[in-house]
């Protein structure tokens, strides 16, 4: 399973990379800005994406829209809670920071 990581804090990106690798995923990214996230969402052939909500003043919502249109499932990771996610995207799993590896494992298992 190939997973795209969108995360502007590299320490958190490294963490997510390790956790996903532990779960047997191939990871690509991280995309660190709203623009590179959109680019990656258009270009990358992935089975799943893990999207940090807040990207250096921007958000990952435009990337989420593209992934949705492409039929690629995704989950959000955020320090702001559900309220930080655009209402029409809240049906996607929303993981909080710090990341609970068990919750991440369940999310990935559901998407497999």
């Amino acid at each position: 399973m190939r997973v795209l990581i969108v995360e502007d804090e590299i320490m958190v990106a490294m963490l997510v990379e390790d956790l996903l690798t532990d779960l047997g995923c191939d990871v690509t990214g991280p995309a660190v800005s709203a623009e590179t996230a959109v680019e990656a969402a258009r270009r990358e052939i992935v089975d799943f994406a893990l999207l940090d909500v807040n990207l250096d003043g921007g958000t990952s919502f435009a990337a989420a829209d593209i992934l949705r249109a492409r039929g690629v499932p995704f989950a959000f990771v955020t320090g702001y809670g559900d309220q930080g996610v655009r209402p029409d995207l809240r049906d996607a799993p929303i993981l909080s920071k710090p990341v609970d590896p068990r919750q991440l494992a369940r999310t990935i298992a559901a998407a497999r």
Partner: protein
Amino acid sequence: MGGRGAQSGGAGEEARYRAIVDTAVDAIVVIDEHGRIEAFNPAAERLFGYAASDMIGSNVNGLMPEPHHAAHDGYLDTYRRTGERRIIGIGREVFGRRQDGTTFPLELSIAEWRSGGRRFFTGVMRDVTERKRTEELQRLLVNELNHRVKNTLATVQSVAGQTLRNAADLGDARESLTTRLLALARTHDILTRESWDGADLHDIMAGLVDSYGDASRFELAGPPVRLSPKTALSLSLALHELTTNAAKYGALSQSTGLVRVGWSREGEGDDERLRLLWQEAGGPPVSPPERQGFGSRLITRGLALELDGEAALDYPPEGVVCTIVARIRRRPAAQPTPARGAA
């Protein structure tokens, strides 16, 4: 006892009460049971921007924005018929409307009294714009604080996880984790001094040298460079890793060794970049490490991405060399981000 009994008549007493109303800091408006204004004190004139002479006799609903403006006569009517109290004797926060049409939050308390067989209502009002603004700011700050704490905890989760994955043994893990958390805390201190607006590279370097404890082992040279909080945090952690590595295996592991850190600014405007060179000399002969540790992963993979530049670690025999090129972004100062806006 020079109290009220000492007053010879009603006129003196009325003047006293009048003075109390006229000098009150809070706005005081008296209406009859049909909403017609009977009294309008100077504080009310200041608050609403109307002269008392223009307001006496007019309907108090002129001081209210919709929906209360249109509904107020009905409120009074309902109260006259049912005696049901919604606000009288209780007080609440409502909006007022000034002469210029602007509205503002105010705290209103209403008392009822009777005189000469007629019923009157006294409203005491205070502008709470400032208090509301402070409450809103506080709410934003608490949300922002929560967000930052969660992010910091995620960073600590990452540092701890990688430290434990890479550690040779438990003692090594404890030592590495502690010094990494201290390095993060040091940068937090620098950023807090600047209200999390950013940090100068000089201050980051000074903190690093200070924590090492021997300034004579470092040669630093470079112009002032302003770093964003995020860049400051990851760059200082990277520099901490280089220092730790130098103390264990490199130039700082021998008394003759030296670390030179030089940096410069290149390019103009949006293309302006920081070029930083870390160079070790005088240490034992260097060879590339057998596997990638936390520090080299942070520098060569993470830092280059985050800084929108390049980062390279080289291991020539004469000493470790690290080159970091980072875009210097020109951005407005960070504002607390409203959680609901999700910016």
